[in-house]
Symmetry: D2
Subunit: 332 residues, 4 copies
């Protein structure tokens, strides 16, 4: 926002009034004329309210760079499940990778019993090292779909390459774009063209604006909806794998009015922080929580240390649901 | 942790078992002999449990660098108010700076009515610019003490220099060390020697270990107790002033068993995020919430944009207290 | 490195000796037995030298996760041009995007006159916003190739999707993987399978290990060589677009023995820092410098503010090649 | 900068012209009227040049928040030694802490032989842990002064508390403020009141503006001059202790016209990067280089791993002074 003043305005008075509204104001001047620049990160204040400040002549505003995202709204439907808005908290859970048909069927059955709506599991895995297990590929997609169907669940799984978009879209209800690919524009376009909603994980060090613009790519290329997923950003502290940014969750949920899901497993890499941070995520505005779980982490093909044993997950799911609700919270 | 194996152990089996416990394991080897290094940031696992893994011969552990902090315990008493442990959520609130005797009395009265336990307010202000208002100094300490006494509240206020330690300790129940001074060892020593508990704000980019070691300075130099305060760390995203790190709060509260307070005002600089992030802080394990508030932010001598008007603060206080509780949450 | 001691060793003496070699040592113990863990980021010290420290019984070391990268060596040939090792400094320059056949021919001619070895230019552009210019695609590749051939230069250009790998490889001598795609494993594999060397830009917040592992993907999937390109990482300071990490350049060049190129244009986004930072890059160990330049930045289809006008580039190229000095350097 | 347009201006044309000057431009509008905001981090462009762009009606600019720093100039005199401007490169070297009278005399003699101008050494040490060696205090100041005098060198040493300012100023030619205290306003004021120039280390995660404002504190409180010292900022990568920010050095030296010194010892913690990064620092614009050195690092009372043995330092000093080249440089 650039605020221009009337000729009779007292700049210091206007400046105080703008700050009093909660705005971060920078004062610029030339030859006795003063203008104010309101930093984009300020608390959202209604432009009409700013215009009414005595001494304000006119306002120039930056057009939003992501009109489609702005227009989406807070709730998204994935088949018959709602995420965000007034919907109940959604759980998304499953193993890091789909290891076998038997494994995923067993997991799905247990998770359904815990009330989990979405079965997650990697068929195509992207790994930091080329020597790590890269997933069982297309067959695993079929196992995942069948296991979810048998248990009455939805499927969320990641797509890694444009050429996989068609087959992933055939098996998944919600297509995941991983952190490493948040700005992979070719993949965003290909995945979005399939008519399925997208679960868009935040990049390792993505700004909020970059994340929203990646969502804009999805909607512009045909995705019916985007659910954002915060999974921790890069940090200097080795006590957690990544740094969970719940301020970004609160911003998306309460200021931008968008559905957000939180993945505390990747955010921390630590089982002992999953419950407090899941609850905190919900309190901050998360519409869902996604957790990695495995019947026997020691036998997991990947990410063993961060997977929660299934029975512990059951207690976690119960505790999250019995805790604070996701109901919209606003001060005004 | 360094894990050494028995001669007959199968390294791959032990490695899987360690990962299955939730540990981040690095494998090192020489001439066919294998050892594992467990990264310090892994989920806390009982050493006895690790020792029982078949094939483990012995463990070497790093001694804690902060034994006094480890011994403190989760709850701290400040006069007759408890912070942390089983105590009810504590609120700390007040203006950025103590502007006048009248102002602070009026604020204290209102805050007491909202059930706020601690009156905060700056007498000595540290500012990024030398041209910004630096506080009214010693007289303001007296006004603050009197206002708190009249309203039946405790006082928390910041000390900036060793020479101020005596006078601040005479007026405050809880002495605040600000972010910019978290590693100011001379100040930590002087402030701690006065026998008052310390509220230790985290530095702008301090690691968890640096923060705990700063607490160790305090306890070693005579502070009866330390309450940690997370107030946001440096971030690349301009949408919030700083980045609130609730993972650190969960770690301190649930893994280290320490009392932590969260300051969402400085963490975000935005009024519109205070409620969701206050609730999230409590859900993550915060024992208290500290908020900047002012009867008329437009007239505030400092930090106008981030201060919440008093009446809005009243609604916030009510909403935080009626929300999720601070009860300890553990997965085990 | 885990250092185990002989039974008669005096741990404190060994610890001092290890630190004296430049190692970051952590001491772990149990029941009077001591072991040391040497942090991976320590200065590289020959293992034999560590073994000779009196009191050291044996060492366990972590196997390198990127053996192919380790084996590559410091110099790479791209057709008849060498990058790294004893080769002369290489310049890579050109416009952000290839805008027309005429434009790129004109630029190539000028750049060849300045002694630039590689013509750069985007045919497929990845942009933060879906509404920004995305490049002229395949036709632009032909213009770029022809212009480079006419001027006796090599071509470096970016590939964005696996499906483009074949056509890009047909036109480029060196295939660029951009920052946003550094961990796009499907793209790394597809681009590397074409038998061309890869220019691998570092991700926005990639650790050194992640960058080297991305290089390992390339070599494992068939790339004959990888040249690393530092282009700035995410930073909290708005004075430069990104933060140029010349420590990483020195590490790759002097500790890992790998060819690195530096892109100060994207690192800073500021023309007024190009010369000092180009010189600093070379002093730190860069084998080449890549700069965005345009005949008339005001008419550039993208990144106008960071492109250097061609004539200023000529002076920059001359100054970089004539060798760094401490004297004040300004482009104007 | 806020750019307002004439009524007949074509906004798109003006926008291109501004970007063509190297400015980062944001476009804001209302009811068909357009204004541009130029981000503060853009390349420095003369305001007169911007005003001459056709269609520009007037400019509003932010007044500098640090006028005294702006007025200081690029060169500073410390007694008879010049730092910055046209002066020759200055070397500052010595042990982490002053361990004994004999030690520091021996070191000073060797360093003088290598042409080092400033002897550094800690008398009052600030340490992350309260159990680490905190320095020999006031007696060590005397040893340091005598050793420097005997060798014909200047003294630079750190002050930790306002109460030490007088005694430190009595013994030092240049008073160092450490990273942990960059925003310790009470210390800045006390140290600056003694009439000695200040060596101001950058805080762990300080923005450029915060650093310059800390310098403003010094000049406002009486320091005759401020030399800035970049020593690495917080980073997510464990391969170096901190992240050396040579972009900030180039900005201070070439855009702000200020004297900057670089401390590669603390920036990296690694001896094997000292030479390439020292050379890079000089190429980026550093007026001096500060290095930790010790006759026998294994016997150092602190920071053993990062201290360079004295004889290796001699070779480093020679190599830095003989000027950077792109040739591979190794200390061994």
């Amino acid at each position: 926002l650039i605020v221009s003043l009337t000729t009779e305005a007292e700049p210091a008075v206007v400046e105080r009034a703008l700050a009093g509204l909660g705005l971060w104001v920078r004062r610029l001047e030339a030859d006795g004329r003063v203008q104010f620049y309101v930093e984009p990160g300020s608390a959202r204040v209604n432009a009409a309210e700013v215009s009414r400040v005595p001494g304000v002549a006119w306002l120039a505003a930056e057009p939003s760079p992501h009109p489609l995202v702005d227009a989406q709204g807070p709730a998204v439907r994935v088949d018959d499940v709602s995420i965000g808005g007034d919907a109940a908290l959604v759980l998304l859970a499953g193993p890091c990778s789909v290891e076998s048909e038997t494994q995923i069927h067993g997991i799905a059955e247990r998770l359904a019993g815990f009330g989990v709506e979405f079965l997650r599991g990697g068929a195509f895995k992207t790994r930091t090292s080329p020597y790590s297990f890269q997933g069982h590929g297309e067959p695993a997609l079929g196992w995942l779909r069948d296991a979810a169907d048998a248990a009455g669940m939805k499927v969320v799984t990641e797509v890694l390459a444009p050429a996989q978009a068609e087959v992933v879209a055939r098996h998944a209800d919600l297509i995941q774009i991983g952190s490493r690919n948040m700005q992979n524009s070719a993949l965003l376009a290909a995945a979005s063209a399939r008519g399925r909603p997208i679960l868009l994980k935040r990049g390792m060090a993505s700004s909020l604006e970059e994340w929203l613009l990646a969502g804009e790519y999805c909607l512009l290329h045909g995705a019916p909806a985007v659910v954002f997923c915060e999974r921790g950003i890069r940090s200097f502290d080795p006590h957690t794998r990544n740094l969970l940014d719940l301020g970004a969750v609160a911003l998306l949920a309460h200021v931008y009015g968008l559905p957000v899901v939180v993945d505390p497993s990747h955010a921390t890499g630590r089982r002992d922080l999953l419950l407090p941070l899941s609850r905190a995520a919900v309190a901050a505005g998360a519409a869902g929580v996604m957790v990695e779980t495995h019947p026997s982490p020691a036998d997991s093909a990947s990410d063993a240390a961060q997977a929660l044993p299934l029975d512990e997950f059951g207690r976690l799911a119960h505790a999250i649901r019995s805790g604070p609700t996701a109901a919209a919270v606003d001060v005004d």
